[in-house]
Amino acid sequence: MKECTITQFRNAAMHPDSCLRRCKSIEFDLESLTRTKYFAECRAELDDESIMVYAPITAEALTMVECANVALPAASNHVSRLKVMEDEMLCSGLSSHYCAIIVEPLPLGISLSEALYTYRYERLASGLEALRTELQRHDISINHLHPDSIIVDRNNCWHVIRPYYATRDFGGDNEAFEKLMELIRRYALSDTYECGMLHEGFAAYGTNGGRTTYPASEGIRRFSTSEGFGFEDEAGNVIVAAIYRCASDFLEDRAVVESHNGKWGVIDRLGRYIIGMEYDYIEFDVDDGTSEVRLHDQTATFDYFGQQLTEWQ
């Protein structure tokens, strides 16, 4: 059996030292663990490098990677081959077996989803054209180009990630290129946008008047400006102004936020306070909907609606 289940992958990601053969020092970002059509995937760090780890959850997955690797160029700045590590991961269950994992180095940069709201039209349009030329030069189609499968680095070089649908023959991405161009026309910052307001490259968030938008969670996107973090819907309508120093993504209609004076609270998707901004630290637990709230070195538990459940202790 070559594939695993998402539960087995989650288990291996939680215990890499006992479930992985060679890559025991991988540190998985468990919050990023998700499932795509053929793979379970999770971001991770290995030897200070960011990587994406894929585990095959269908029988066709590995064959697809092998075919893609045949099509992908041996050396390219824009797209690289996937590294298959055979028999690497222990899939424990009624009958345990080892399956392969696929490792892909992640380039430093931001996803095109974020770049769309961060960079100017001209810059993004030229990046897209450079990617198209590169794919044409190598005569390949990625067949899965979308804003979350492209990383834009600080030099405006576009890197394709998750290239496991790649095939020989250029042309399969024509429709995707048109859609991406449409997105760029629609969302990229205008070239006449005041330069001082631009988020330039990879400066720390909020230090230069820049605006960065993060991928949507539950239909709501976090964004940051020089004022702080706020939230907007997917159509770009601001729901909560950028008034927080720090904010989490929405999870089951709740987000934890920190004000500029260091006080924490919980808001709902209209920005209403479920737990007021008066505490030193808050951790929301999606499993039971409770929040562990800290104030003056004492903690108490609050329920999903902000009612205090336990005494301070």
């Binding site: 795509t36 239909g219 999870l251 089951e252 999903y304």
Partner: protein, 289 residues
């Protein structure tokens, strides 16, 4: 297609998939009854099951016109919410053998003279869903796919009216990406009997914290949305067959014309009740044979 009368030889299948994530604790309103969404959904599903039993009854007997499954999902797992140890479908006559004690709740209503009174609603508490954790929607749809595929492969069901799957949620999936969701829902919709493909309805429940946008069974050709989650839910839902269009338009009081898509956004509990009636109304086709 979609014309097969329901008989005890050619029964059909109904699956309710209920999102039991923690956000379902938020309040919703059914008439004057304000309760957590999860309780209201539980009440509506219980009333629907009672209705199905009633419609499948003849004299003192309940005949097997339906196989029914109610799945709940949260905390990374999917489970059957029906009584007994079945992990999937239960024939409606078998379910009746496990009938729980009836329960009555009172909903505040106004009579013709404007006076307030408490109207009793009696139902059997077949399911008692609880809200907790995140939203493993993919897991639930994959589970439902396994059930309906097996049901459709059963030669006894070959000529039956195809299964209807009602997926009720108030949030976004937490265990899969867009492609995986579209893939699993398309696999559900590809299962079929000789009478047609399985019908998958996705019903997004309103929340008092959501905006006012509300759309029930939009015209499939005119639908467009800026929001990716709505577009995904739209693509995950079945086109309503021509033969059911009139029934759907009547039950949901739709003002617009078809072709309809089986998806509803920011649905109120009353609208949910009407949508689920598509399942029970199909029993009007029952032929007592």
């Amino acid at each position: 297609m979609y014309r097969q009368p329901i008989t005890h030889k050619e029964r059909t299948a109904i699956v309710f998939i209920v999102d039991c994530s923690i956000s379902m604790l938020q309040p919703a309103k059914l008439g004057q009854l304000v309760r957590p969404k999860i309780e209201i959904i539980g009440l509506i599903c219980n009333l629907m099951i009672d209705e199905l039993i009633l419609r499948a009854s003849r004299g003192n007997d309940v005949r097997n016109y339906y196989d029914i499954a109610v799945l709940g999902y949260s905390r990374g797992r999917v489970e059957s919410l029906l009584p007994g140890d079945s992990e999937g479908f239960i024939a409606i006559d078998k379910l009746t053998e496990m009938m729980p004690m009836p329960k009555t709740i009172y909903i505040e209503q106004r009579d013709a003279d404007g006076r307030i009174f408490n109207a009793p609603i009696m139902f059997h508490e077949w399911i008692k869903p609880l809200a907790a954790g995140s939203t493993p929607m993919h897991e639930a749809l994959a589970y439902a796919h396994t059930l309906v595929e097996k049901w459709c492969r059963n030669l006894d069901n070959r000529y039956s009216f195809p299964p209807m799957v009602f997926h009720i949620t108030d949030g976004a999936c937490s265990d899969a990406d867009e492609a995986a969701l579209l893939d699993v829902s398309s696999r559900i919709m590809q299962t079929h009997t000789e009478d047609g493909n399985t019908l998958l309805f996705n019903i997004h429940l309103s929340s008092d914290t959501w905006n006012d946008y509300n759309e029930i069974f939009p015209n499939a050709k005119k639908f467009s949305s800026d929001r990716r989650d709505r577009t995904i839910l739209f693509k995950m839902s079945s086109p309503i067959p021509k033969t059911l269009e009139a029934l759907v338009a009547y039950l949901l009081s739709l003002k617009h014309r078809g072709p309809y898509r089986g998806v509803a956004f920011n649905t109120s509990p009353c609208e949910l009740l009407a949508i689920l009636n598509i399942g029970t109304e199909s029993v009007n086709n029952i032929r007592y044979m």
